[in-house]
Symmetry: D3
Subunit: 210 residues, 6 copies
């Protein structure tokens, strides 16, 4: 019985030397590329690269939106690098809102774990709105790049998990994009038709300048 073991191990060795790239755990200290971060050396990879516990606790909802988004994208969850998938946790206190936003890099599926959430998106071809009140266990898909939102639709806190078709889907929150930077108010007003007072009020809230 000794012989077979040795022989088959020689097959094993020869194949494993030329093996596939099953995964590419992100080495955050290495250069970023269009396809993702460079890979950790295989010998340094452990099961903990593929497990993330940071979504176990609710985010802090003591803020003006009464909500929190806790992402597990490739920068925090190194195991998903290159695999085209990631997750995030949404906590919405009573009255909580995830403001209008897009994910430039991927589609999203949301599953309601507790509470009730009114969620919707707007199509680009005809500006049609698709929204619905979701109950526990319902899932909803938000196609890539389209404006969408989530609102706590009930009298109790709501919890949802969302998944993305990219390990780095991005998150462009409309109000932050418009009012939390130094884009001149004049340009904002010309390109959004918003009134000057409205723009300045929201810049005040969100810390924008210019």
């Amino acid at each position: 019985m000794i012989l077979p073991i040795l022989l088959i191990f020689s097959l094993l060795s020869s194949t494993s030397n030329a093996a596939v790239q099953d995964f590419c755990v992100a080495d955050l200290a290495s250069p970023d590329t269009p396809s993702g971060f460079a890979c950790k050396k295989p010998a340094a990879v452990t099961v903990n690269d593929f497990v993330f516990s940071g979504l176990g606790a609710g985010g802090n909802t003591s803020n003006i939106i009464k909500a929190a988004v806790t992402p597990a994208f490739a920068e925090k969850f190194a195991g998903v690098n290159g695999l085209g998938i990631s997750m995030a946790r949404l906590d919405l206190a009573v009255g909580g809102v995830i403001p209008m936003h897009t994910h430039p890099g991927g589609s999203e599926v949301l599953v309601v774990i507790s509470g009730s959430i009114c969620a919707g998106f707007i199509s680009s071809s005809d500006n049609k709105v698709y929204f619905k009140s979701l109950k526990k266990g319902d899932i909803m898909v938000f196609p890539r790049g389209l404006l969408h939102f989530q609102i706590n639709a009930g009298g109790t806190p709501a919890l949802a998990f969302v998944s993305f078709s990219s390990e780095r889907p991005g998150l462009q929150i409309l109000d932050f994009a418009l009012f939390a930077n130094d884009l001149p108010s004049e340009i904002i007003e010309m390109t959004t038709f918003l009134d000057d007072a409205q723009v300045k009020k929201l810049k005040g809230v969100l810390g924008g300048t210019g």
Copy 2:
């Protein structure tokens, strides 16, 4: 004020006529293609195409694996067609097991909603096993195409949601692939090194012939 409305609507019309394909809700009666099902006519699409309630209730775990997989792939959840994402629900009664399986078409991320789950996968390059006991809120990624499993690791029922990087990731359960069809026992034995008695016993349980 009438004039501006008309003028801007003419811009709206001209752009919307040439607009993008934001989504392609599956028309299951139409031909399937390598990129997915043909699309429903836009006028027939409603918000219900993007919402699926079939994961709200637990699957039936009164079976020998004491577990159930309830998928929401494109065949059932038409809104994800072409979007590269889908979900499923895993219910594991006490002692429940999702047997060794692969998804040929996509990577998977699992989030534990209740209970405790021991989950793992095996890499192809060096046959190294990555497994860990996951608690509520933990997430784990299983890279595309690799053998993996989930086992209820606690004394209470466990619930998890899984997401995939494909709207049709597939599910090849090892035992069904080997023992639930008419693949001749002789071929199974030659290609798996399993004993004849073992093969026939499992064919008996799973309904295989030949």
Copy 3:
């Protein structure tokens, strides 16, 4: 000399029968799929499927934005179906503005043909604004899915051509998405922090209800 011709034609025939799909001109009457429209029969394809003259004349800029977008996406320019590229023409009268918008399905490159254009986009990762005044011959890239805008920055009409990395990049104009449909004002206000009066004013201009 007759013989060689016949012989080499037999090679030609055998290879052409199994030839490639060089292109897939859209048959707009056929079903749409996630990868694009079904293809016209090869025998029906002519050079006119690959040429589009609809960008030769300026769009009508007699509207409140004093600008026009004339697209040549796959729905109008059937030859680009499946090829991952398309174009559009931008006309900006003096004072003209292409309002804040995104293309969910592709990146864009703009080339200024005449006049001067102030163009910019906002990144999602840190809400940083990148904008610059472009002169004739300058080109600028707008990465996929990010909010961007173009403003006539001079005292003469401006003309630009834009190209996209998709044959159907989509066009989601922020104001149309928010104010030109039946999305309830209450939801808009909760998800954008805009004041009720501002929302109702813009719904009035753009024809929104609810």
Copy 4:
């Protein structure tokens, strides 16, 4: 033992209904799409869709190039539709040549089965030529879209199999593209710098007009 079988079959059924698209065997009578032909109904698929015997016999090399290319692309080998791979057989009699050509849709790997073949390609970035005489068992890769050729380099017939990274890689033979159609000689001469006599001579051999 009856009970377990029924129970596990119910799991099997529920999962198989929502199963993956493992493959999409081409239904050549259905519409073509940018991602390939529509799929045959699963019930109509047999093992013969995945097996092709047309490469078993050598092509006819009694022609002026003393060579034959026998392809197994998706149009003839329906099982590869959508799978991103295909094959062809090359037969080169003594003195045989596969003329300068490209595959617009894919990279190629060649393996020499018998005889000796001088094969090469030309890079586009610096027009550098990479060519070598290959012996039995050698493999060579030709990157996508680059001009390449194969010449029988020995005194015996040569046989090779080639594989492509596409199920429909295409085949553009330079001489056929230039001289076997109705492209006006004047245009050929302006765009290739070839002499008029040379162009007309080759049009004569290859059947071109104009």
Copy 5:
């Protein structure tokens, strides 16, 4: 009002830390990869990475083809790295010709800005030629990898901009590939059927050896 600002900034920070890869400006000093150059550090990116002014001036057409191609691919226009799009400028003096060539890596759309251009391509499946005389404002698409050409069709200089479905589409000019390197004349003649005198004449013009 101080409090809301601080609270919402904490949300902003937590999301921006895990944000998307909106773009990947090429760091030309870093390693190249199959998906493109490694990315510049985000802090080093400025608007000038996304703007390129090198297409503003006409290329030098004082050469034998009376034409010039000025590219803005990722090597020169770092902002397009990884975004699947790029541009180039074509200048054709009276009598100017862009010789027969392919882009192995992408499809092309051309827009005529001034003058008149006769442009065409040759399909691979049946060697059919598609060509047409284009006037100002016309656009034409050239599918990936196919031989194509552009000729000044009028009595005035012509200007066109071309876009590609790749940030590095490549450019293989037929005459340079055949006659501007050290590919032995004997091999050229065997694989193109060109006469020895013709090959040597063009090698003389283009600097080829061997």
Copy 6:
């Protein structure tokens, strides 16, 4: 004649500086990324990077499976890096078997060079088995990620070459994945329904522990 050469070379230079990435030969000493290895410097690339002679000799079949798999994936055949294609050689002595396995990263096409091979795969959607005895010259495709096998079906040694739709398709041999590592026997038994004695017997043969 001097003048034309210089002039056209200036065109050549300007275009080659901005040229395409025709290929990306793997620099195995550089970091790995999700899209493959970083590229060798172009100046260091030679024709030998595109040619591999390691498949010329048969693998050693003096082992318990009487078979050998000799791969030419990107780790050994650097020229295929990033090109989406690779090859391997299968040698099956009389009675030889390539055991049940998957390639997580790509589809496979096999061509029989000598002898006779019984090959098959199992679909995931309905566990249907597709298998057939292949003779010399037959080709068969195995769709991505599905369990498949090859058995010498004749009285003489068999030789086949296989190609993959990925430069690093991976190879997960079922028995090695289950029995050649430290996956606890209890977990194997729970997730495969195999008997304890069977598991321990195969761990003994294949060197597994736990």
